[in-house]
């Protein structure tokens, strides 16, 4: 057994030492697999980033109430009376003054020019009440100041400020026939709220000629108070509403985009992996054909077929692993933290950062090893069964 291991080690070491002589063909494996792993990781990191951005707003001790049937805030609608009924429901956490932490909100869309292209894109404008800031303590003014209620002042999320042109501090935005002033830039712990513009709900209602709200969000006493709150609302005949935790709501919002990105990523990855297997097979066949004589010599002086086979397989696996590591590293360096924006399910731009997670990179390396294993096995098999006499005579 020990002799056997020793043989494997010796043949493998010899292979590795003369790898540089076969640099050109070996690169085919390395670069090919780097491409597969890099692409798969990069595309899936986009999905992971999108999910994370929406997930960050997904607290379990906050609930959002929308009209029954509504699939997003944009398609929902609640009247002022309904909002008042919801405010009185049990299970809502109270602030220091004993008032329930409730925020009735509007979510509307404004056409604003994108900073990158100058073309008009949908910006989400959230009309908020003072409760919105108690509900979301992570929202902090990073520059400038908070807007004053009752005026046409807006504060702009950090991501919205970079995605759209002309939203800097002090900028005047002309929309809905009047001028709005940007008085502050806010952060929200990297959540989707950073892609929004916030203004006083009453002022937004006026500008959009609306009466009611679209959603009512509340802080729950604790995560288990959801049932109390939900039951009270569903039993109330004045309401026909759907209650979900912020976690459930935002998970459903990212579902479709995640699915699309996953389908795209995995199918492209699969096709490319098949291509990489062909490349690996080609390389390894070429490697054993140039080393035919050497292998035959080894066999002739007493090395077993199995050590030869394993050494070829090890070489393929090592090259594959190297390629996989390069691909994952490239994806990380180029894309981790890269900011992109797309249309979210509220029909407005959502900016998010790519997240090249360790799980994604690990998955990439596993795929690389699988390609190396499949691409190396057949050539290794052939190497082990090379007829010694003919191979020795060959040029």
């Amino acid at each position: 057994m020990f002799a056997w291991m020793n043989q494997i080690a010796q043949v493998s070491w010899m292979n590795l030492k003369n790898l540089p002589q076969r640099l050109g063909t070996s690169l085919v494996i390395v670069v090919g697999i780097a491409g597969v792993v890099g692409v798969l990781t990069a595309i899936l990191s986009m999905g992971a980033g999108f999910r994370a951005t929406l997930g960050k707003a997904g607290y379990e001790d906050r609930a959002i109430v929308m009209r029954n049937g509504a699939t997003s805030e944009l398609s929902s609608g609640l009247s002022r009376e309904q909002a008042d009924v919801i405010r009185g429901a049990p299970g809502i956490r109270r602030d220091a003054g004993g008032n329930p932490i409730v925020a009735a909100e509007l979510l509307v869309i404004a056409d604003l020019p994108k900073a990158s292209s100058g073309t008009l894109a949908n910006a989400a404008v959230r009309g908020v009440q003072p409760g919105a800031f108690l509900l979301r303590p992570e929202v902090k003014i990073a520059q400038g100041r908070q807007f004053s209620f009752g005026t046409r002042e807006v504060i702009v999320g950090k991501q919205a400020a970079t995605q759209f042109g002309g939203l800097g501090l002090g900028a005047r935005i002309a929309f809905r026939d009047s001028d709005w002033t940007v008085v502050g830039i806010f952060e929200a712990d990297g959540s989707v709220n950073e892609s929004e513009l916030w203004a006083d709900a009453e002022v937004v209602q006026n500008a959009y000629r609306r009466n009611g709200f679209q959603s009512v969000s509340v802080a729950l006493e604790n995560a288990s108070a959801l049932t109390t709150f939900k039951d009270a609302l569903t039993a109330d005949p004045r309401l026909r509403v759907k209650v979900s935790t912020m976690k459930q709501y935002f998970a459903s919002q990212s579902e479709m985009m995640s699915k699309l990105i996953n389908v795209l990523g995995y199918s492209v990855g699969l096709i490319m992996a098949v291509g990489a297997v062909f490349g690996a097979l080609n390389t390894m066949y070429a490697a054993i054909s140039t080393r035919g004589r050497e292998i035959a010599t080894l066999r002739a002086i007493g090395f077993g077929a199995m050590p030869v086979m394993i050494s070829v397989l090890l070489e393929a696996l090592l090259l594959a692993l190297l390629g996989g590591a390069i691909g994952a590293a490239l994806a990380y360096v180029m894309f981790n933290g890269y900011t992109a924006a797309t249309l979210g399910s509220n029909f407005s731009q959502v900016a998010f950062d790519f997240r090249v997670t360790t799980a994604l990179m690990g998955q990439g390396l596993l795929l690389a090893l699988a390609i190396g294993l499949i691409g190396g096995f057949l050539p290794a098999w052939r190497a082990a069964r090379l007829p010694i006499a003919t191979a020795l005579r060959a040029e």
């Binding site: 670069v31 049937g69 492209v268 096709i271 992109a340």
Partner: protein
Amino acid sequence: MKYFSLIWASLFRKKARTILTLLSIVVAFMLFGLLQAVNQAFSGGAEAADADRMITNSKYSIIDMLPISYKAQIESVPGVKAVAFASWFGGSYQDKPARFAVFPVVPDEYLTVAPELQMSAETRAAWNATRTGAVVGEALAKQMNWKVGDKVPLQADIWPQKDGSLTWTFDIVGTFHNAKDQANGDSALLFRYDYFDEARQFGKGTIGWFLVKVDDRRHAEGVGKTIDSQFGNSSHATKTQTEQAFAQGFAKQFGDIALIVSAILGAVFFTILVLTGNTMSQALRERIPELGILKTVGFSNQAVWWLVLLESLLLAMLGAALGLLLAMSTVNALKETLSGFGVTRVGWRVVAEGLFIAFLLGVLVGVAPAMKAMRLKIIDALNS
């Protein structure tokens, strides 16, 4: 091509290697074909959009509705041939947000402005006769397994009914075919505006957008300006643009994602080509000594040059053709799943582009070994 069999034979001198190389090229071009099909889907039917049809919607945003009374005013603008309107219904089907467009329209008006939606005379008559009637695209009907006479319930998300109920039930009266094969053309459900307006809880008399057919596409810009200036001072200002501009603007909103994906894949495509090219040219170089023999038996320098170049071209083009064919049949086979994402086919332009790239690949890979082979002295070749 009297030398074809010679080229073919030398190509398959090392069978395993050539087949593996060929398969790598096939995979690269299959990826190319699929990627271009997805790209076209992301650019949102901008190609298929009509240049003499315009869309008038609210200047402020897509969620603002317009009063239906604007229709008569738009019709009176010189250069306008016909006007129809539609609204976004949305809704959910079987507990999932509907993946197809659902619009309430006035049948005859809409079909006049959108003649590419073709249906039988019976279907049209049945639709006009049934208040709750709806027509669906052929592809959608097939996908959902809807038959004429079926009752299809959709759950409203934006539009509850007057009594607060969310379920809208439509009677399928027939199917239509989108003759222009626009990306999502066949994936729509159209129902009657009178049913919609009468039953909805709020927003009566308002619609989402007008479709305006102009008499001549050269007048489109002027007509658009006239329409918008008519409503400029009202409380519902409008924005009129060609359908093409509208589709492009919408596609740009998804912008970054499509751009990033195609950039990544483009980079990979070219990496595969470089690697495969490397393998191919190595195979050719190994065979140069053999070419000395061909020269010995009387092949001219010119002929040898062609032999090597054509071999490289043949491999590249064959691989590309197979790969593109595979991409086409994949899209065709997965049509029903993919059409939800707007991917319907691999266009001929994509095929032409792919073959052109393959041609370049073949030339680039083949030229250096071909030159070497041409300049080769017989004596050196036979010595080595």
